[in-house]
């Protein structure tokens, strides 16, 4: 254990765990997964809206991260590096399901839903339910923008979508969330 630079896994810094993972230490990777799983699963659950599928994708993303751990240049870059792996894993799964991310339609599905009792009680909707009302692409862009704090250009870089498409999805998605979560606005 001493050769890892820490004696107890629970007390190790994330940077030390990552360095140990790069040396193929499976126990250190287990601890890293334990610490990061909440964030990773929440990110993927927000993007896919299907808890079982999100957990499968999170697992796939962690295994990809283990395989590519040596490509990570500095431990400090881990969150962004892993986020990219998670988003790529999600996009690949969606492409397998033939989901379309670049298409922007002018029709706003919420316009007709606002008259429903559920929409009228929009203030009671929590974030997860509100996100479920967005299209896949809007949810992805809004989650990365508001949830992960990424700029439009960073979202372009991570998803490969055109800048105009990303801006539009963020704008529309945020507007829909505002109508769902803050009906007084």
């Amino acid at each position: 254990m001493a050769s890892r630079g820490f004696t107890k896994l629970e007390e190790a810094t994330e940077a030390a765990l990552i360095v140990a993972c790069q040396a193929r230490d499976q126990a250190a990777f287990g601890e890293l997964v334990k610490r990061r799983q909440g964030w990773a699963r929440a990110l993927l659950r927000r993007m896919c809206q299907n808890h079982a599928e999100a957990d499968d994708l999170a697992q796939e993303a962690f295994i990809k991260a283990w395989d590519r751990m040596r490509d990570l240049e500095t431990p400090a870059a881990f969150p962004g590096w892993f986020r990219r792996i998670a988003v790529t894993t999600f996009l690949m799964a969606k492409r397998r399901q033939k989901a379309v991310f670049e298409e922007i339609t002018d029709a706003s599905p919420l316009a007709s839903e606002e008259s429903t009792p559920e929409a009228a009680a929009g203030a009671k909707l929590d974030l997860e339910k509100a996100l479920a009302r967005l299209s896949d692409a809007e949810r992805l862009c809004v989650t990365l923008n508001h949830g992960e704090g990424l700029s439009h250009s960073e979202i372009v870089e991570i998803t490969g979508l055109p800048l105009g498409t990303v801006k539009s999805h963020v704008l529309r998605g945020t507007d829909k969330l505002r109508r769902l979560l803050d009906p007084d606005a």
Partner: protein
Amino acid sequence: MTDFDALLKRSFAEAHEPADDGFVVNVTHSVAQREAGLKVRGYMQLGAVTIGAAAVSWGLYTLVGAFGQEIMASVGLEIARAHAAVSAQPDAGAAAQNFLQSMGAGLTQILLLTGVLAGGAVAYRASQD
């Protein structure tokens, strides 16, 4: 930042999933299986390379046993011819003739050696795949 933006950021920040030991166990189990699989694959590759190297060595040994004397004789003859060509006065026609004769005499051995080396290379590549 508007009140709604702040609300949105707060909602996202609060939405982390609680720890799930089952998830961690699944991931670490998959990683352990993967590593074990890679180790087995490494051993198999090593075995295949060893078998390939043994086959090439055996082929070379057999070849030398069957054609060793002939090869040595050809090599000696070529050296003698080369020496004679260097010692004699320059004669482009004779040199060309000698070269062609040498190529004809040594061609069989060259082809055999090339075949063995190519076979060895193919066996090595196959073991790497």
